[in-house]
Amino acid sequence: MTTTTAAGRFGAYGGQFVPETLMTPLLELEKSYEEAKQDPAFQEELHYYLTHYVGRETPLYFAERLTEKIGGAKIYLKREDLNHTGAHKINNALGQALLAIRMGKKKIVAETGAGQHGVATATACALLNLDCIVYMGAEDVKRQALNVFRMELLGAKVISVEKGSATLKDAVNEALRHWVTHIEDTHYILGSALGPHPFPTIVRDFQRVIGDEARIQIQEQEGRLPNAVVACVGGGSNAIGMFYPFIGDRDVKLIGVEAAGAGIETGKHAAAIAGGQKGVLHGAYMYLLQDENGFVQEAHSISAGLDYPAVGPEHCFLSDIGRAAYDSVTDEEALEGVKLLCATEGILPAIESAHAVFYTSKLAATMKKDDIIIVCLSGRGDKDVHTLIDALGGNMR
């Protein structure tokens, strides 16, 4: 018997660890995607929607008051929060929805954590007249009630997942089960740079617009590349989209910020690179929070969008080869990041993005005044207001 080398590897990471029933659909998806990628008409259509519907390009905004307050490097915000639906997730959801239509699939299934990917997918499906089912952990349904209602308004069916930790990981399990049972007419729009090949590549390619724009914008505004680029990492889609165009720019530091939850030392966190071991989940070989029996452990983070026990395969590879560095920020620190950006810039960031904001505020303080940091503000925080009221002790009078 022979074994062939698997496709879709980033170093040792990635691959296609899926039930046999999914292999043929994945091979078809890979083929369709490669064709679409080369097809100018497809790219033109995607570009049309990104420009006229999503509102791209998003600004690269110099956060002058934040910079002054920190007193270090100049901080620029890549304003993905200004996209239609409020986060970077729409870039990928629209791209994959157009791909589904190209493949003749009229039904979409998706998972969601914070609800941003679910809302983005429901939006793309409403726009393009596709049926939409979104699986969401029961815990997240509670935390993100506003987004659940938004998805339902947009015509999506939201199914609450009570199993396991009832968060993003369990929503992915159910979405995969749904897909494997309905592969003839359904495309799975995976929301992060995770899952079996070709998903991590597809998601990265649809998100690289973030970094492509930022790289041009910073050169227009500053006449040079930044010293560092910072983004939060759950599965890692906004981060890989931001990092990818800068990978060849060796002098640009790439820093991913994982969610340290209550603190790495407490075990209650979602930092797979900091605290995980290599393993397989949801179709890919990657850093994974697991116990000595290979059982997947629950992730913990105040932000539903970072609450995933692994990190996308390309990040694992970038970490191993030292091209990107990964650090982590606790729940408490992320909340400081929220308050800081509200107070200095009048911008309410998603708690996910606030991890990157907080990290950037510490990093900037250690750098020179003519250094430049770009931080990816991946989403806005309107969805988090209830969580913030609970966490910060505010009230709604």
Binding site: T3, F17, M23, R177, T181, L281, G283, G294, V296
Partner: protein, 259 residues
């Protein structure tokens, strides 16, 4: 005896293979010996021993729930193999382990193969490891003569079916429905030519699995396959200590029409 030889000798006697699936540790590891020996006594061909996992994406609700009960009992790959090893000398039929990949990786492939062999495991099914990814543990399995069984799906194109059939070891596991495990009342009606096709690619026995839950279905599949694997129905019956149902399923395989 290798898995293939054991399967073939069972089939040559004029009957169809019958392989029940059990979830190890559902009801506690203390009943594992009794369950396996009683199934052996009923005349099953082999037993598929499921290992619980936290994220069983290929399992339907019945097996998933059984897995959750087993996990709640503290069951894992290591203590299942240890339990099996204790009474391995009493088990005369081959055992086939069914586990997701990550517990094997955490165990270490070589250590797993060694301990699994000593526990009487002669075949392995890893539902989240397709052929293309099998090199991650295949060498270690081969060294211990543990057969790596390939699942063949109905949706696969012909050349893929041929490739999987040729690569499979022990037997070929023909997935009879698209989707996850669990009882079905309706099967696609063009299954017979599918099995004939599979037989043309390989000398291995071809067993049908996923969704088979009644004696009638056991007989029907027996008419064009070499036997069946029954999972959810067995798991459900064991959970309710309903051996009558199990006996009726095994019996159906004994008088399944032989081609």
């Amino acid at each position: 005896m290798t898995l293939q030889t054991a399967m073939e000798s069972a089939i040559k006697s004029g009957e169809k293979a019958f392989v029940p699936y059990i979830m190890a540790g559902d009801g506690g590891l203390s009943i594992l010996r009794e369950t396996i020996l009683r199934l052996q006594h009923l005349g099953v061909t082999a037993i598929e021993v499921g290992i619980p996992f936290t994220d069983p994406v290929a399992d339907g609700p019945t097996i998933e729930k059984a897995g959750e009960r087993a996990l709640a009992n503290g069951v894992n790959l290591r203590n299942v193999l240890a339990a099996l090893k204790e009474f391995a000398h009493e088990v005369k039929i081959p055992l086939v382990a069914m586990t997701y990949l990550n517990p094997i990786l955490a165990y270490g492939a070589a250590a797993f193969a060694q301990d699994a062999y000593e526990a009487g495991i002669r075949g392995l099914i890893v539902p989240d490891m397709p052929l293309e990814e099998s090199s991650i543990i295949h060498t270690e399995l081969s060294e211990k003569e543990i057969s790596l069984i390939q699942l063949v799906s109905l949706t696969s194109p012909t050349e893929r079916i041929a490739k999987l059939a040729a690569a499979s070891e022990g037997f070929i596991y023909a997935v009879t429905v698209n989707g996850i495990t669990g009882a079905r009342s309706v099967f696609s009606n063009d299954l017979a030519p599918h099995f004939a096709n599979l037989k043309s690619y390989s000398a291995l026995p071809v067993l049908a699995g996923f969704g088979i839950s009644t004696p009638e279905q056991v007989e029907a599949f027996g008419s064009f396959s070499d036997g069946v694997i029954v999972g959810s129905k067995i798991v459900d019956a064991l959970a309710h200590n309903d051996w009558e149902t199990i006996e009726s399923l095994v019996k159906a395989s004994k008088h399944a029409e032989v081609n």
